[in-house]
Homo-oligomer: 310 residues x 2
């Protein structure tokens, strides 16, 4: 399987099956965040700054930057946000928009080799955006839907993924620069959503040999205890070949699920990351629980023995 390289001016991030899972921080996105949208539209990027720093601190390897604010000058805001993020962190960026002009301004503004997020399998989008990918030499996320919408059939979605990879190659873009997004639907609305994603991930890994990426938060929409659902879903997807995701590393349940998945994929050498993320204090408290259990058992036995003697 290929490696996908993304970079900032000073840092290279490699996405690949034999490597630790790559986390793309999702928080810099005004969709559904009214205060952030208002602030960004007014040229106030304080919250963007905080979100950038907090996500990198929590382990994000890339930062997704979305500037989708209704009626605002999205291309200008995108450029500003990307410049800001890359001035205060050293991570590469994922330029996230459905507006071509915003993607292009983002590509102009970004340092290194960014990730373009995203291109669907619609012919018009492919013909519009693949030349841009080629021109800027970036990598991109290809989304497995096309003119006919999002199919419920994983084989149809895989066919779209395959078409995207082939069309990219026609434009001189190697498959190492394509991440396929299998499209994650809310499991509460479609019981087959998980199985479909697992199947597409398997086929992308085994038949196309490309890396994959998904937005992992949508899957739990409408359900309780979403963090545990999102973390578990990521682990299951990683076990089926997923190599990166747009998610929130600040949530401990999600971060731990990803780190444990790295352990079981054999991508955490000597489990050192896991061990350092779960220091002896935590280990002690877990063992403390076992010790307490033994004490309780001893305690019960003592009471029983006392009763027998009594």
């Amino acid at each position: 399987m290929v490696d996908t390289i993304i970079s900032s001016k000073t840092k290279e991030v490699v996405i690949g099956a034999g490597r630790p899972f790559v986390i793309i921080g999702e928080r810099i996105n005004p969709t559904g965040r009214k205060v952030l949208a208002r602030e960004m539209a007014a040229g106030n990027f304080e919250r963007v700054k905080k979100d950038a720093l907090a996500q990198v601190e929590a382990g994000a390897h890339l930062l997704d930057v979305n500037a989708g604010i209704p009626l605002a000058d999205e291309p200008a805001i995108m450029a500003q946000a990307i410049q800001l993020v890359q001035s205060i962190t050293d991570v590469p960026v994922s330029i996230d928009s459905s507006v071509v002009a915003a993607l292009e301004r983002g590509l102009e503004a970004a340092q290194g080799k960014p990730l373009l997020n995203s291109i669907t399998g619609e012919d018009e989008r492919l013909e519009l955006l693949l030349p841009l990918v080629k021109k800027y030499g970036c990598a991109f996320i290809g989304i497995s839907n096309d003119e006919s919408g999002i199919s419920e059939d994983p084989d149809v979605r895989f066919a779209v993924a395959k078409k995207i990879v082939e069309r990219a190659e026609d434009h001189g873009i190697p498959r190492s620069d394509v991440l396929i997004d299998p499209l994650v639907m809310p499991i509460g609305a479609m019981a087959s959503a998980g199985r479909s994603v697992f199947k597409i991930l398997n086929r992308c890994r085994d038949e196309l040999g490309v890396n994959t990426c998904c937005g992992a938060s949508n899957v739990s929409f409408g359900l309780p205890n979403r963090k545990v659902l999102n973390g578990t879903f990521l682990a299951m997807a990683i076990a089926n070949g997923l190599t990166s995701a747009i998610t929130n590393p600040i949530e401990p349940e999600i971060k731990q699920a990803i780190q444990a998945s790295d352990v079981f994929m054999g991508n955490d050498e000597n489990c050192l990351t896991w061990i350092s993320a779960n220091p002896s204090a935590k280990k002690g408290s877990a063992e403390g629980g076992e010790r307490r259990g033994r004490r309780e058992r001893r305690g019960r036995r003592s009471r029983r023995e006392a009763a027998e003697q009594g």
Copy 2:
């Protein structure tokens, strides 16, 4: 893929790919539990009783019963423990021993159709135990090692699994009565342990069409925060086809990982089990967290606005 049916006198448990994951409670096992071993050897089954009830209460569909106590009369203790467990719960049992006489006494004592745990791929064990499985009409766990030991190569372990299934069929035992255990090694000692298991599970599902079972606790041996590791490992294994496991449902991290996995495999109809296990209190507190987040953001803005005005 086939369904595997296990039963008590009054309850049928079905293991299969299109069904909720089956939990076999691991706690009734004196290995490494000195107090329990001493008590069982002395004919005191109070702790067995408590462990049985607590595990069923926590969601165990079957109870594993192991009576492996050095120098004790294992066959007699096995029979007593099984009779006791089936007198106070309605779940089927898994009869867990490496001693043939203990397995046979367990089979005599058990009501319904129990699970025999386990038979390795060693010719001698197969020829000794398969006739017993046939005689009692039970199901069994086939372990993917043989005379040559436990191979690190998943394809070799799969070949042993295949041999077990075929040998069982030679004895008139249908593959629906065979659960293959891919053998889970500690990931801290062998970085490929997870990937090997996933590959064997895939092949068991796709090529043999049999159900699978594993002891899921050994995988985290020697590492900190074992409950999260065990839960995550189970989710990843389920995503690769695992249909049952011997584990501890009393641990919330493990129980939640299994329930979330059922959701993503499409085996929790309308997510009703998940929703009822995560009631509005928890949901409220999660949403409360988001609300608090919004309040905090508003709070910061207010302070900033105040500062700007000041």
